[in-house]
Every structure is written in structure tokens, then in C-alpha cells.
Symmetry: C2
């Protein structure tokens, strides 16, 4: 397989973006179109909703087990929201990366930047709408939220927009197929970044040193 | 055109790599395969060799004109080598970038890093052979150089290898077509980097601020 000459380890991909920008649809399409992806499943202490399955939407946990997970450094990141914990279990992510799978996480901006502190070579993608008008239309188009909730989301979007420069790439979500392909290319090409190929580079250095000294 | 939603300005692409790694072949193939590239032509004070055309291999110049170019900050970088000046004229590069062309320069490592100081958003690619054995074979295979010259090139390759981590990507040159495609993707995707889309991002911020404040 072609990419195998580069880093064999998978890429940790963190996807953020405004509410209504279409992150979820993009990620699902990406994962169903190509074989090299694994979607990370979050752990939460909130109650399962009807139809939700343990291990599919979330790993459901009680508070005690969740806090033990925190204690044992078993989460890549976690946050508390509306009285419930949400977090990303480390073991699943690490094992998938070791298998060479590119692991996709959807996390809001603070969590994403925290991950970058720990996983220096995580790839951070920020999904944007083609315009604010379009974002507004999409939020209204859902027909499920009050004007007040929509305004809150737009305020939140403004706050999040302050951090966009810290991401590796933006993805402007106008055409789904185009964007899925773009994201796939970003992730594929990330295997060519030097920091992910240190072993190969070091081998070349050692051999060059040997050969040029006639060893 | 699809990519036009991102940065309209071209990408300045700097290609370095060991002698014998195949940079020239890759770059020529890239430029002849896709339409969005312009190869930068260097300026030099050395005499034209038979068959060389002014403006194709080099812009040929006398020392006085070259030094005036230096004085007037008209070169992106320059160096003196075997008593002759070599440099990259700034006006051609800038005008091509403004036209939306991605401009490819081949420059050795010190020059490449100097360019990154001035053009923060230049994309730096380092072409590597699949192995040192392969590099050695390619250098010998040319049949034009003495063992001594080959050893000098390998020593130089070792020195250059120290800087690989400062490049954005490595390209391991085993299969020409694969590598040309990889390079093309790296350059295409570079248009999605936030720093190259500041205007779009700022517009979104301004509009979000306006809309969320009910302006």
C-alpha cells in the first residue's frame, strides 16, 4: 500500500466548527467513504436517550466510574456540561492509532486545543459555513430551535471564531463531496509531515553519516 | 473553480532535497501535468552555457546589475557560489503569486529557510530518496561523477538532513507519478491553512459579531 512508506501510525484528527456548519454529516460521510478511519466514541455520565446504544453514540458510565477514569489519566480530555461529564477515552484512541487507523474526534475548541498540548501531532480541522447568512439559514432551517437558542449559537460561534488560527486547516462546507475529499487529502498528506517520520529521517541520517565517512 | 473559495493568492513552494533525490524531474513533471504552476527562474552572473536561453534556464546578468538588484531588495534570496551570484528575482515571484499561480522554487536548505523568514506562508517540501542505498545507486548511475564527488554529495546530504524537520512535508521519491500527485495535493491543501484565509475568517467574525448583537 502506497502510504505505508510514510508514518504507519494513524493520525489523530480533531474536528471542530460552529454549530450548524455540518461537522457531523462531513465526518459520517468521511468514515463511510474511506476505510482508514475510526470515529472516537465519547464517554458520558448523562442518561441514554431512547434509541441510543452503549458504545455507539456514547459509552455510558456512572459518575464514580467516570471520576476513576479521570484519576487514572484514562481520558484525553473531558468537560462537565449541564451537570454531566463528557470525555474521550484514551485507550480506544491509542489502540486505533497504533493499528494505523486515523481517529476522528469531534470536540469544541477548548478541548481541541487541550488535545494539541498532549498530542502534538494531532491534526486540527475547523469546519466553517460558506457564509454567516448560510449558517443562519441552516440553523433556522432545522426548525427545532427558538430564535433565542439560535442567537446563543451565533454568539458562541463568534467566541469560537477567535481560535480558528490555531487550527491546521479550515474546511469551508459548501459542497459535501468536495469537502469530504478535501478532508481526506489533508489527513492523508499529514503522514508526510517530518515529525511523523522521525524514525525514517533518523535512519537516513545515520546511514548518510556512515557512508560519507566510509564506514 | 472549486479552490477559489479559499485563498486566491498562489502558494510559494520551495523544494529542497539531496542531490540525486530527483527534485528536478518531480518539479518538471508537476509543472507540465497541472496548469496552476509557474517555475521560478533564477538570475545569475555566470556565463550562459551553449544551448542555454536567457529567461529559460536563467536570467543572465552582469555583476553590476546583479548588485544593484541586491541593493534595491529585488531578490528573495541570493548566494555566491564559485565566484558567481545566483538569486531569485522578487518581482516575477510576486506577480505570479498575485495572479493565483503557485510558484515553485528549487533552493538548497539555507536559502529555503531564509525564504521562510520573509514569506511566512511559503510551503517547504523536502524530497528524499526511499533509502540511502538508492541515493548512492542513483548518483553512481549518472556515470558522470567521480567517487570523490559522490562522497562529497553524500557528506553534503548528511549536513542538509539536519534541517529536514524545519520543512512542512517530506516527499519520498520512489514512484514519480505518486510523488507528483502527493506534491500537488500538499500545495492544493495549503490554500486551506487559516493564515492564508485571514480575510475570509475576519469577514465571518465581523458578521457573526454583528448578527449575534442584533446589528
Amino acid at each position: 500500500m502506497k502510504t505505508m512508506k510514510y508514518s504507519k501510525k494513524g493520525i489523530l484528527v480533531v474536528v471542530s466548527g460552529f454549530s450548524g456548519a455540518g461537522k457531523g454529516t462531513l465526518m459520517n460521510r468521511l468514515v463511510s467513504t474511506y476505510e482508514n478511519y475510526a470515529l472516537s466514541v465519547s464517554m458520558t455520565t448523562r442518561q441514554p436517550r431512547p434509541g441510543e446504544q452503549n458504545g455507539r453514540e456514547y459509552f455510558f458510565s456512572d459518575v464514580e466510574a467516570f471520576e476513576e477514569k479521570i484519576q487514572k489519566d484514562g481520558l484525553i480530555e473531558y468537560a462537565s456540561y449541564c451537570g454531566n461529564y463528557y470525555g474521550t477515552p484514551k485507550d480506544y484512541v491509542i489502540s486505533q492509532l497504533e493499528l494505523g487507523k486515523d481517529v476522528i474526534l469531534e470536540i469544541e475548541i477548548q478541548g481541541a486545543l487541550k488535545i494539541k498540548d498532549t498530542f502534538k501531532d494531532a491534526l486540527l480541522l475547523f469546519v466553517m459555513p460558506p457564509s454567516v447568512d448560510e449558517l443562519y439559514k441552516r440553523l433556522i432551517g432545522r426548525g427545532t430551535e427558538t430564535e433565542e437558542v439560535i442567537l446563543k449559537r451565533l454568539e458562541r460561534a463568534y467566541e469560537e471564531s477567535e481560535g480558528i488560527e490555531k487550527y491546521d486547516y479550515i474546511v469551508i462546507n459548501d459542497d459535501l463531496d468536495d469537502c469530504v475529499q478535501e478532508m481526506h487529502q489533508m489527513i492523508k498528506i499529514a503522514r508526510n509531515v517530518p515529525v511523523r517520520n522521525i524514525e525514517f529521517i533518523e535512519n537516513v541520517r545515520t546511514e548518510l553519516k556512515g557512508i560519507s565517512k566510509g564506514e
